[in-house]
Structure formats: C-alpha cells, structure tokens
C-alpha cells in the first residue's frame, strides 16, 4: 500500500483498477510489471513492431520514386530496423529481466542506441540519432495509440492515471466507465481538473511521480475530497473508504434535495446560479443540479479530435441543442478560446515560444476571420431559439473589443442579406481575464452589455504563475491581495456603468470564496454543474450583511495566507460537512 498526496481538484471517492496512459512526447517513466505480465508485455512489443511495419510499408508505397528517393531510403532503413530481430529481442529481454512495461522497454532501448550514436565523433553518423528517435516514436505510437483506444472501449469501472491529460485524450473518455482521474502534473485549474468536475468524477493532480510507482491494473483509491491517492490499499483501508464514500454520497443526496429551492440569502438577496459547460450533453446536468442557465459555454470541443474545422452547421447544431434545453433562460456562448494549452495538439500551427502570451483566444480569432465569422454566423442563427448571449474571451484592450464587435456587425449584415432571422439585440459581453482589461474596465464597460470575470487566467496573468507547473502552483491563488483588488475594481466599474457582472472562473466553485464574492457585490455565479448544490447551500446559509463584513475585513489584509485562512474559517462555520 502506498499513499500519495496531491491537490484535490474534483470531489468524490473512487475505488477501481487503474489504467495508465502516457503521451508520445513525454519521457516514458520506468514502471514495473508483475512477473505474470511478462508474456503480455512481450507480445505487445511484437504487435507494436508488426503494426509499425504495416504503417511504414503503406507510407513507403505512397512515396514517389523519382522525387522521394531520399525519403524512400529513410523509410527503407527504418523498415530494416523494425525487421531486425536482435532489436526486438533486446526489448523483450528487458521486459523479462527488469520487469518493465513494453513502453519503457521500447523507450529505454531506443534511447540507449541513440545515445550511442550521439557519442560518435563523426558528425554525419552522430546525426543518425534522429532516425532512432523517429523509430522510437513510431513504436510508441503503436503502443500508446492502442491504450487510447482502450480508454474509449472500457468495459469495467476504471480510474485513469497519466502524467498529464490533454483535451484530445479526455474527449475520447468513455464516461460510463472512467470513474476517477489522477495525474503527476497540473493544478486546480488544469484541463484534468476541469474535465473531472464537469464529468462529476473525483480527481487528484500534482502527484509528481505517481505514474512511476503505479502499475496498470493496480487497485487505486482516489480521494478527491482530501487530495489523496492510495495505490494497492489493504482490506481495512478499502472498507474504511467504502464507508466514507457512502457518507459522502449521503451529503450529496442531501444537497440535491435543495435543487428546487431558490438561491436566496437568508436576508432575501437573489443570486443567479449558472453552469459552465464544455459539451452540449452537459446542459442537462446543469438543469439536474438546479442551474438557471449557462454562464459559460466553451466551444473549443468543436475543434478538438477532428481533422477539419467544424462547418457553420456543426456549430449551429451544437448551440441549438444546448439552447433548446434552456428555452428562455440565458445561454452565454463564448467564442472560440483556442491557442496556448488548448490547440497545441494540432500540427497546423508552428509552436510558439511563449504560448500563453502568444496568439491565443480572441487574438487568434481576429487573425483568422473566416473561422471567426463562421462561428458568429452560427451563434446569431441560434439566437432566435432562446436567450443567447455572445461573449468574447481574453480581451486586453478597447480596440480588440471594438474590432470583435465590428466583425459581429459585419456578420449581422451578412445574415440580413441572406434574410436569415436573428436576435438584433443580442447581448454582447467580454471576459475580464487579463490585468489590462481589469484596470481599464471603466472604459470597456461603456461599450458592452456585460462582464464575466474569468479568474483562472486573471490569477495566472496577475501573479505571473503557470497554473500547470507543480513547482510554482502553490503561488497560484485567487486569495492574493493583488487579484482581489482587481476583482473589486471590475465589480465597482460594472456597477457604475450599470452593466451585468458575473463570475465564471474556478474561484466561484470553491466554497470558501462565496461569502467574499457576494460581499464584493457579485450577484451572478457560473460554475461547474456538480458544484451547484453545494454553492447554493452556502448562499442559502448566509446573509449579505455577513458577506459584506467578510469582504470589508479581507480588503484590509495584506497576505494571501492570512486571507485564505480567514476565508476557510468563515466557510467552515457555514457548512461544516463540506470541509
């Protein structure tokens, strides 16, 4: 039994067998197998060779003899390596003698050969290491691609363990069987965390070397409440956790019971609770959990896991499906927020040295107008089906906002010409998620209908902390005085301009921040659907007067530690079961 401590990012308890998945571009960690698995792993190596030979033979056949002579030679060389029995034997021997996985045996062997080449003095020969890495990738693709299929075709309850999960990997998850997630890297707002919360399954991240200590098929307990992962638990621990899991479900059940009740504070202030969603089929979950609409409809899913960009009709159908669930209740569609962490899988774009400060989100859209207009066209077309609003992400200055609005007007004219009906008065909002937007909120508020605070990026950009880097992720906190001051400014400016302000960042789904946010003047909160009942319970347990006092007190404090400590204590008094 081994106990690992990480960061709890999605609540719940899960006890199941593990499936370990790696990414092709990461170094494959050394992971042990049971002696009984030796035959299986050796067979996986042989299958990978056969698969790679098959793939390469097909590739070679498509090469033009006259022009691609050089390339054909390279393929021919790689094929000789894949047919080299002594190479395959080196790997299967490693599996047998060292009890390691097929992936590790392949990676370790190929890297040993490559390092042999790099040491050769002859420059021409030492460059051949690149060929070896290429063959390694081809073999790993066979092994890992198979695993990815495994995730899609699970037949029993499983927890997925990985170094880090990409959107492409999680999009293929079979929701019926994936019961928990655990990753080496990541923070509270990493992709893994967001996906786990939207699926309503427990997740723990920042476990550092979990993938090296776990073996596929090991029984794992994921405690998404306390941030603990237990590998191969003993009988006693399992029964303890089964009991704890039942108690937790009872609490959830209790919270579900307040679904029909409104989110009103004890002194009568109505708070609007909306849901953040990633996929159209999550809309139902928002209703089930008592949400009153969609405060953030992420649209990146349309672009992931496919070869070609979505058509206008693809966009329209996805929006229409969601809007029809909510009729006259609000659905805020955020225009595409690609770039940085979300689109890096694609080979179509050159890698940027600093993607989070690069061509992402609205900047990307403003430079890819055809794609942007296609989406806007579909949103406008869907706007007659319900109360659709448009939201532009990552605005950093007034020009960007005006430009985006200008393009929207352009698309409206197109629709006029095509005689397609749409809501001419559709509300247009922006996300405030950069310090520059927060500091100029006063100006931006004059020309826009609503603000939505995107705290994930706001915290990252204000504090200059990469939320996915476990070595600095402890510095990432919404309770930092600098962040809170910006949030207060934005709320005040929205009030002065009399426009709507909501909050849709992860901060709003953390129970300890609710009193502070209400005290700062937030009346609309959009969160991940599974958290709606718990947040509603808190809202129903407080008075605005208490919240105002908390906010006033917090704004006099100068350290993140002091603030988060104070908030936790205040929240614990309100809903002790949740902490």
């Amino acid at each position: 039994m081994e106990i690992k401590k990480g960061i709890a990012v999605s609540p719940g308890i899960s006890i199941a067998k593990s499936l370990v998945i790696d990414a092709e571009d990461y170094r494959i960690p050394r992971r042990s197998i049971q002696p009984s698995q030796r035959m299986t792993e050796s067979q996986r190596i042989r299958n990978a060779f056969a698969g790679a030979i098959d793939e390469l033979t097909k590739l070679e056949a498509t090469q033009d003899q006259t022009e691609g002579g050089k390339i054909k030679d390279i393929f021919a060389v790689h094929l000789r390596f894949l047919r080299d029995r002594s190479l395959k034997k080196k790997m299967t021997d490693l599996v047998h003698s060292q009890l390691v996985t097929a992936e590790y045996a392949v990676s370790a062997t190929m890297r040993e050969i490559a390092s042999h080449f790099t040491k050769v003095k002859d420059a021409y020969i030492s460059e051949r290491a690149a060929d070896i890495y290429d063959i390694e990738r081809r073999l790993l693709k066979q092994l890992l691609g198979k695993k990815r299929e495994d995730v899609e075709h699970l037949t029993e309850k499983t927890v997925v363990v990985a170094r880090e999960l990409s959107p492409t990997q999680t999009a293929g998850f079979n929701r019926e069987f994936v019961k928990g997630l655990a990753t080496d890297a990541g923070g509270r707002t990493s992709h893994t965390a967001i996906v786990a919360r939207s699926l309503g399954i427990p997740a723990v991240v920042a476990l550092e070397d979990l993938t090296e200590t776990i073996r596929a098929g090991d029984t794992v307990i994921i405690d998404g409440n306390r941030g603990i992962v237990i590998v191969n638990p003993d009988e006693q621990t399992i029964s303890q956790y089964q009991k704890y899991s039942r108690e937790f479900l009872e609490l959830e059940y209790k919270l579900d019971a307040i679904r029909e009740k409104p989110a009103i504070t004890r002194d009568g202030t109505k708070i609007t609770l909306l849901g953040n969603i990633e996929f159209p089929d999550e809309a139902e979950l928002v209703l089930q959990k008592g949400g009153e609409g969609i405060g953030l409809y992420r649209t990146e899913f349309l672009y992931l896991n496919r070869e070609t960009d979505p058509t206008e009709q693809d966009h329209y159908e996805a929006y229409a499906e969601t809007v029809s669930v909510f009729h006259d209740r609000p659905v805020i569609i955020r225009t595409v927020d690609l770039g940085a962490d979300k689109y890096t899988q694609s080979k179509r774009f050159a890698p940027e040295p600093n993607p989070f400060l690069g061509l992402r989100s609205i900047r990307f859209c403003l430079q890819n107008l055809v794609m942007f207009k296609t989406q806007l066209h579909a949103i406008l077309r869907a706007s007659v089906l319900g109360q659709v609003k448009i939201m532009f992400p990552l605005i950093t200055n007034l020009q960007e906002m005006m430009q985006a609005k200008f393009i929207l007007r352009d698309v409206m004219e197109d629709l006029d010409e095509e005689s397609i009906p749409y809501n001419r008065d559709i509300e247009i909002g922006i996300m405030i998620e950069t310090p520059s937007a927060a500091l100029t909120a006063f100006t931006l508020a004059r020309d826009i209908d609503f603000f939505s605070l995107g705290t994930n990026d706001l915290v990252q950009y204000t504090l200059a902390v990469d939320r996915g880097n476990e070595q600095v992720s402890t510095l990432y906190s919404a309770a930092d005085p600098a962040v809170l001051r910006l949030i207060r400014t934005v709320i005040q400016d929205a009030y002065k301009a009399q426009i709507d302000i909501s909050i849709c960042g992860e901060m709003a789904s953390e129970p300890e921040y609710i009193m502070l946010l209400l005290g700062l003047g937030v009346k609309t909160i959009s969160i991940t659907p599974p958290m709606i009942p718990e947040i509603k319970q808190i809202i129903r347990s407080v008075t605005i007067e208490d919240c105002n006092n908390v906010a006033r007190k917090i704004l006099t404090m100068n350290s993140e530690r002091q603030i988060s400590g104070y908030l936790r204590n205040a929240a614990r008094k309100i809903l002790p079961e949740a902490f």
């Binding site: 030679d73 390279i74 021919a76 060389v77 000789r80 390596f81 080299d84 029995r85 002594s86 190479l87 080196k90 050969i113 042999h116 080449f117 050769v120 003095k121 002859d122 021409y124 020969i125 051949r128 060929d131």
Partner: protein, 108 residues
C-alpha cells in the same frame, strides 16, 4: 583470405575490408550491407577492434559507426560463406556503397 573446413557442411571464411566512401558506414550503407548479407544462408559477423556484431542486423551494424578508412574483419560461417564474402567485398570496396570516396568528393 583464408579458408578453413571443419566438417563437410561447415565452411568458415574471413577477410578484412576497408570503408572507402567518404561518409562512412551510416544508415543507408549499413542497410545495403545487411541486405547483401541477408541473401546468404551463412552466419556473418563483423568486427572492428572493439566489437563483434551480427552482419545481418542493421541495428548492430550501424552501431559500429565505422567511418571512412576503418578496417572491418568479416567472418562468414556456412555453406555459402565464400560467396557471401565476395559479394560483400564488392559492395564495400569496389562499389563503396555507390557513394563518393573522399578524393572524388574533393574533385566535385
């Protein structure tokens, strides 16, 4: 070149060749070597001063990393040993893997 005969079936032949092409025994020449060697029944081993490797394994052959001017000892064991050595010498020394030698390279 020496020829020995242990029994009626087992013929062992040895020879030494010199790498003559400018870029040495990189991937493509290694492939040609392995392809020629694999045409024969006999076992073929190749050694530089340090290591002896299987002449039919591209991984092992390329890891010899023999540069231009390197002398390699080739040993063949089996019924068609002599033929295999002839073919290999032709490839390495006469054709030098269809690649330029240092002198020709300078002239170009």
């Amino acid at each position: 070149m020496q020829t020995g005969q242990d029994s009626l079936e087992k013929i062992v032949c040895e020879m030494t060749v010199e790498i003559k092409n400018a870029d040495g025994l990189h991937m493509r020449p290694a492939m040609q070597f392995v392809d020629v060697a694999s045409r024969f029944e006999c076992d073929i081993s190749v050694s530089n001063n340090e290591n002896t490797v299987d002449g039919k394994s591209i991984m092992q052959m390329s890891m010899l990393a023999a540069s231009c001017g390197t002398r390699l000892k080739i040993k063949a064991e089996g019924t068609d040993a002599q033929e295999s050595l002839n073919a290999l010498r032709e490839l390495v020394e006469d054709k030098h893997f269809d690649e330029p030698t240092p002198n020709k390279k300078k002239k170009q």
